[in-house]
């Protein structure tokens, strides 16, 4: 009996169309994810002169990346797993990697959109402008930084099966990042804390974003931050893949 399996390109096209439609239908939550970094960009206008535009923009993008990875991606995976959406897809001739790849491509698009929105907000609201190279490199850094939070989200959704518990955990982690990351970064919690925050996922991502915006300031500390960022991604992704189950039963 001759059976043909559909082309991977056709499968990916169908999955991406469905996943982007889902994203579009959830545009209200997309706006919420984008709104927080825009508000930060605007409310930190006063810091532009003292700390620099790169400082403001990199913090805003970092917080947006945390929201995309933890609130958007993780919760949608937890919900669809609970509802059996993945099980239905897995009984069709779709490789498991294609299901996840489609979801991740949608999130990467969100990351690029977020970065663009922050650039526009920074320019329009705070008169921040960077070099063309700085903008291009920051898009790249946002993808590398976003991968940390996507993989952290994968680890959370891998470890916890109940969607409500996943949601409350991601909120807790999100607010921890805001409090510890942002205030620690500003030195509000002391110098030792500020130094420690530098090496958290928040600090390393913020560092590579800030330096990408001003490529001339790249130094050894940034290279180390980049390596640590990639290390975080590898550790979280390994745990996330190891722990992840396609169903909750």
């Amino acid at each position: 009996m001759e059976i043909t399996i559909p082309k991977t390109s056709a499968v990916m096209t169908a999955l991406l169309r469905a996943d982007f439609t889902t994203l579009w239908r959830n545009r209200r939550s997309v706006v919420m994810v984008l709104l927080v970094p825009v508000i930060i960009t605007y409310s930190w206008k006063g810091l532009v002169a003292s700390a620099g535009g790169a400082f403001v923009l990199s913090n805003a993008i970092t917080l947006g990346l945390v929201a995309v990875g933890l609130m958007g991606y993780t919760n949608s995976i937890a919900r669809d797993r609970e509802k059996g959406v993945f099980q239905r897809l897995r009984v069709s001739p779709v490789p498991s990697w294609a299901i996840m790849a489609s979801r991740l491509i949608v999130q990467l698009t969100m990351i690029l959109l977020l970065t663009l929105v922050v650039f526009i907000a920074g320019y329009k609201l705070d008169n921040i402008s960077m070099s063309a190279t700085g903008y291009v490199l920051t898009f790249l850094a946002a993808i590398i930084g976003g991968a940390v939070y996507l993989s952290l989200g994968q680890a959370i959704v891998g470890r916890i099966s109940n969607p409500e518990t996943v949601s409350s955990t991601t909120r807790l982690v999100y607010f921890s990042f805001i409090i510890v990351g942002m205030f620690g970064e500003l030195g509000v919690l002391g110098e030792k804390f500020k130094h420690a925050v530098d090496w958290t996922p928040y600090g390393t991502v913020k560092n590579i974003l800030a330096t990408s915006l001003e490529p001339a300031t790249w130094n050894n500390h940034t290279s180390e931050a980049l390596l640590v960022t990639v290390g975080y991604t590898l550790v979280f992704a390994t745990l996330g893949i190891k722990w992840f189950k396609w169903n909750t039963k």
Partner: protein
């Protein structure tokens, strides 16, 4: 390829499935032929869904072989899955998508061209011409089952797997679904369905296997099983209204105790 391989759409041999140390399926063997509706019957927790999940590729068997349209499900999983259409017990699709978008998604996944005309013809065929832009959750139970069934057969599969397809449906919807399942058989597909309903098994199945505690304890046509066990004292003891039914045979073979 010999004649048996050509007529057997699904061949399950000595299947063993475990959940940790608990063995849910024990040495189960059965086959489904082209143009046949085969029923897998059993009480709750008997091993029906576990057997079906192994065929679907959702569970990996510890031993035994499953062949769909000549393709081993472990060695050629994508080919085996391309040869089958599946309706899961609790089917769920992305809640943000409407019926047309869900149909387009699965048509795309199976490599089926689905233009506007074909889409409308499919929806008209299942009496859902007006439901194109409705969300799946907005449909009634019977309408949801019709959409699930059409998705399961959108790529003309050799084998259709239906896990308790009429569960929770009213009598009208159930009858309509039986007609649709019989139409699938008429097209020459093999159908494997699990059910709790003896009425359903008698009405649509050509052959059935009764599974209990993970083992198949009887196989045959519904009538042959009734004839074989008609005079068993256990069957006579549980039969009502002086007429032996498939349900009487089922209760006698699997016991009267209520299962979780």
């Amino acid at each position: 390829m010999n004649a048996t391989e050509q007529t057997n759409i699904l061949q399950v041999d000595n299947l063993n499935v475990y959940y940790g140390t608990f063995q849910a399926v024990k040495d189960v063997s059965f086959n489904v032929m082209r143009g046949e509706i085969f029923g897998l019957l059993g009480p709750n927790g008997a091993g029906k869904t576990s057997s079906l999940s192994a065929v679907e590729g959702l569970l990996k068997q510890q031993s035994g072989t499953i062949t769909v349209a000549g393709y081993d499900t472990l060695q050629k999983p994508l080919y085996a899955r391309a040869a089958m259409g599946v309706q899961l017990q609790a089917t769920s699709f992305q809640p943000e998508l409407n019926v047309a978008e869900i149909l387009r998604l699965y048509a795309g996944i199976y490599g089926v061209e689905l233009g506007k005309e074909k889409l409308q013809s499919i929806l008209k065929d299942i009496n859902l011409a007006e439901a194109e832009t409705k969300k799946f959750r907005e449909l009634s139970g019977g309408q949801q089952q019709r959409v699930s069934l059409v998705i399961a057969t959108i790529h003309d599969p050799k084998l259709v797997l239906l896990d308790e397809p009429t569960s929770g449906l009213d009598p009208q919807s159930r009858r309509q679904l039986w007609t649709r399942i019989e139409a699938i058989r008429e097209k020459g597909y093999g159908v494997l369905l699990t059910t709790h309903s003896m009425e359903e098994a008698e009405a649509v199945c050509d052959r059935i296997s009764i599974i209990d505690h993970g083992r198949i304890i009887a196989t045959g046509t519904p009538q042959s099983l009734i004839d074989k066990h008609r005079d068993d004292p256990e069957v006579i003891a549980v039969s009502r209204r002086g007429r032996v039914t498939l349900e009487d045979v089922f209760i006698a073979l699997t016991g009267e105790a209520v299962r979780g």
